[in-house]
Symmetry: D2
Subunit: 370 residues, 4 copies
């Protein structure tokens, strides 16, 4: 527990600060016998890392991950896996003048009140940089789930600020710096260029999905699969909203429209006529794709002057210099894939624990398609 | 853990099924020395209980709570508090024909696949009836938080199906069966009457807030206050979306608009010029009101015939009879108040554990207003 | 967590006080599909219950257990199982005069200091009566482990006060009120009769074993199987020492004697030449019988006058009347069987979670004998 | 959870293998604002580290600890503290021939059965080397407890093999390589020299104590303070027995002897006439010194040939070469101090969480002496 651990059976404990010597995580509970090396993890870190386009922070971090434990002769041993990423390009002097003031929209004030002190360098622990260890851990979960169930995870951006991007195809996502599922991103580039000139920032909406989901993951009350997904997503910096399936659009739905009908077919003997519920029924996965959307607020570090207080309690005007993403949502797709994978991984192990010998299903069909 | 417990330090373990002998919960970790009797809990249960208007299920359950442990001479002792509610008005025969079929939008299929068997009577454990123990536990948390910090919790309905209710005043909420914050609910009554005639159901949007919040509750990564709120809310039956503060509207915001400026004033030396962030910064409460909204999907039990499968895997048409809420969101306000209170309670205790001796604040002011 | 829960995957949350309306527990995480009724639980409760011989407390409690949830049509559903035992024979007046004083060796003083108040009736929550829910939960774990792996649990008394009982055979244990593994218990009867006349009490030493153990249960560091066994045993009222295998005798052993040699044979291809390690190597079960011993201190409620303080801080002399066991160890055998079963159950589920697909073993043999 | 974490509020997650690149731990939940640097941790690591006398393993590890996170400008920030120790003197070739065989008394067989594979280099994760991160974390807990409550922790060896060392004074402990509380250790030196010549190993008995204990730490059932102490101690490599207070000697005690009488006096208004209970009553600290003893089994790595099996299931004779402690108990004193401090730390934070506002005590005295 104690706040910085995600999961219980596949437990990821995150540590580090933006400008400290290193960041990383320990994964406790990884099943043994899976082939694993840094090469399995680095690609997702590279997708998330800063400095890769002019639309994101120019901080130059190679984000090279080192496996310190839990792997022997290229295989997971079942013991804790420590993943370490050394910080390289700290410019802590950029943050000298914010040490004595509270940036609006930032965690400066709340950390100061909670702990009585704070590490102001680059936001310390509240920096989005701390999502890197999450991405690294997620890569391990993704690999296991893909090998075990064929489950895959994909995220993309669907709205940037006031601009609706639309969805054409997943195949476009790797081909542009915005993780946009469209072929032509010139409108996004224009939007972002204008935004950068204004010194302001904008929010974003993203979508993440899991396909080939095992059926039966989740708990009936409290630790439902969708509840744990919401926890993971809302725990990401700047996220202000989470939807499963049709989300807030469900409010205006009639039950006769919303409920996903079961039809015969598929590997397990059932397919759904629709997916308004986003792959979860009663907190438990139904085999449909998991469909999750999040809202990311605009970056709080902007060049537009803001009213705030300093640590003496005096009103001041503040501009946040330094190297920042004008839209933190741009780099969020690999992070929410990782978060979704970590939640599914946790529940896959829980399901094995409690229901590992359940062998039920439609008569005449293989008992479980997972 | 194991899925049916909410919280770690103020840990609420929920048990029971809709048509079993009893439902209830055990609260472990309640601070000692608080005056507590059934009279502190029953009012919130009465707000939630069924059968109180023609717009909700007609099941007649008194929902009388009994305190079985943890209270001595009218005071909490610090030991586990077991709260028991006997089921009274089970009509399990209503559910005879759904035992062999999977209702669309219900947990029937996922329970059957997860556990290999299920209790079909009234939805078994997936019934909304299981929110009663949550409400009971929430009443204990509410009382402690009110006495300790003056924190109060209020929920209301803001949209029912396609009808936007608007917000006039909290004072109207107790005066109508919809928990609507408006004086005139005739439009809602007309809407619901038409819906009932159609045999269909609708969704709802609700809002819940905590006022007089202590500053500093929450953890930096993963177990953020907003993350745990999202977990609790999305863990409620039928919830498909959660927002903190401006939620999905934040996507289109500019940073210069969204970030809440700090101004001098108030008990702790700071007030915020706005509350776009809904009371949480960097996962930690900032003293602003917590502002949370949820989307509830339409009830899945409807009289409109639906395509589905039976347990033999054969396609059938299904109508769900029995006694159901045409809009489960109507009775949700006391539940989301309870859930919010349970999350705040948990983090209040965690904060005392780790930071109980932090004595920082603006110079010349009392160190903490909490 | 929060102190009154044992286990994480098979999580038993205990509630109640000696003289409150009821005691009980909630089991969260029980695998579904196991036949279960009160008849599976009651026999172990009957073995533990008071009033069955003149050598134990004369409190008359039928200890009838009621299953309130988690079982449908005689099968576990996978949802929480609440087990309730109503208290019947409270005589709280017996405890009137101890409410204002601290009995030596009892938890009176520590509860008062911890919580600021305490329930003095029958020791409140510190009463050995609260072991009944543990025994009930243990009966569920025992049944599952027996059905799944053939594992069985047996406890007996080996020393009572200064009297070494010796070990003849497990078959004698059910035939005398002392759980003594000997045919002739007249020496014990004489010893206890003399003790009762003296108004004093004595300690005991017990042994508990698990046979037909699956291999591989336990974690490498901290949550080792033996660590969790020690936690469970030392968590029992009055226990002051725990041994695994040869225990304290190991201190004087040479390594050449102590290490248990592996020999070919058995179902899994290995048998051990000895069992000095008590069935655990490196924190993980090796298939040998689990061998555990505990020391129980003498009952603190005695008729011999003792020096102590009252709640005003004044020195007084105290005699503890009421109905007490002169040796609480006498009824401890079913309790430590239950505790051992609960720990093994927890680790069996953990093992399935993490290593459910491990299929290694000696070439030419079935991969796992569990 | 997941096995390699000790504690919930002060949660220490241990990672690493004996011959991997590094070992270490992450401490989550450390209170903020405490001065901390490597210099606070290194002395305890130096007390534990190998190669410091001819009576312990000659592996030469400087065990230099590096703080990677959670400290800013010399103060703990309240965020996770990662402590890293690079391995230096690995000689994995020493272990080439044990990769295909199971050393008696070692975890080789159980790891192989649990995980399907194992890291044989130096025992991998089952090596006593993994106690170094525990010692490092314990140093942080010790510092906080000393500053907060004045609590101090001391361990020593009282028996080595068949040799009873006795207890003269704590002041002798740092002056000899055996952590023996006696001035003249020549008998121990002779004993150990003879043992080394024989190629065999021996066990040990150690004692650890906490002084100036706060009152009220511990939970009533299951997570009692003594239970968590037993868990921590039995979780240490090679420990086969744990005692609190008089331990197994309590079996032969009468209640009139064993119960510790309360007398007026002291800071909190009470002193105890004796300490048979070792500082714990009803699972909760009573302010008396914590008194704990453990039994450590003889080292399993010996030069005496042993019968065992190889991974093909064939019987072989095995000698364990490499660099080993002939008595692992010799270096255990700093480890058990650390373990005791970690358990007390955990419960100190839990106590603040639940009972932080309890203000009870004897009339006319300061409410709490902690």
């Amino acid at each position: 527990m104690s706040g910085n651990t995600l999961g219980t059976l596949f437990a990821v404990t995150n540590f580090g600060e933006s400008h400290g010597p290193a960041i990383g995580c320990v994964i406790d509970g990884c099943p043994p016998g899976m082939a694993l090396s840094e090469a399995d993890i680095q690609p997702d870190l590279d997708r998330r890392r800063p400095g890769t386009s002019k639309f994101v922070t120019q901080r130059n971090e190679p984000d090279r991950v080192e496996i310190l434990s839990g792997v022997y002769q290229g295989q997971t041993t079942g013991t804790p896996i420590c993943l370490l990423i050394r910080n390289q390009d700290q410019r802590s002097k950029d943050y000298g003048d914010i040490a004595q003031s509270f940036r609006p929209g930032h965690a400066d004030y709340t950390y100061w009140r909670k702990y009585g002190l704070r590490d102001p360098r680059g936001g310390g622990r509240s920096s989005a940089r701390l999502t890197a260890p999450t991405v690294a851990a997620g890569a391990v979960a993704k690999k296991w789930l893909r090998e075990q169930y064929g489950t895959t995870f994909r995220g993309c951006m669907t709205h940037i600020g006031g601009l609706a991007i639309g969805f054409e195809s997943w195949e476009h996502v790797p081909n542009n710096p915005f993780f946009a599922p469209v072929a032509d991103v010139s409108a996004i580039e224009d939007y972002m260029s204008a935004l950068r000139k204004s010194g302001d920032s904008c929010g974003a909406r993203l979508r993440v999905t899991a396909q080939q989901m095992p059926v039966g993951l989740g708990e009936p009350i409290y630790d439902r699969l969708d509840a744990d997904i919401a926890h993971a997503m809302m725990g990401l910096n700047g996220v202000k909203g989470v939807e499963i399936g049709d989300g807030f659009a469900s409010v205006a739905h009639r039950g006769s429209l919303h409920g996903d009908s079961l039809l015969p077919g598929g590997v397990g003997g059932v397919v759904f006529a629709s997916n308004h519920d986003g792959g979860v029924l009663g907190g438990i996965s139904n085999g449909n794709d998991l469909e999750v959307a999040i809202a990311v607020k605009p970056t709080s570090s902007i060049l537009v002057p803001r009213a705030t207080l300093n640590t003496a309690g005096e009103p001041i005007k503040l501009i946040t210099k330094g190297r920042h993403d004008p839209c933190v949502g741009i780099r969020a797709a690999p992070i929410i894939e990782a978060l979704l994978a970590l939640v599914v991984m946790e529940h896959a192990l829980r399901q094995r624990a409690q229901c590992g010998d359940v062998r039920e299903g439609f008569p005449g069909l293989a008992a479980r398609d997972d």
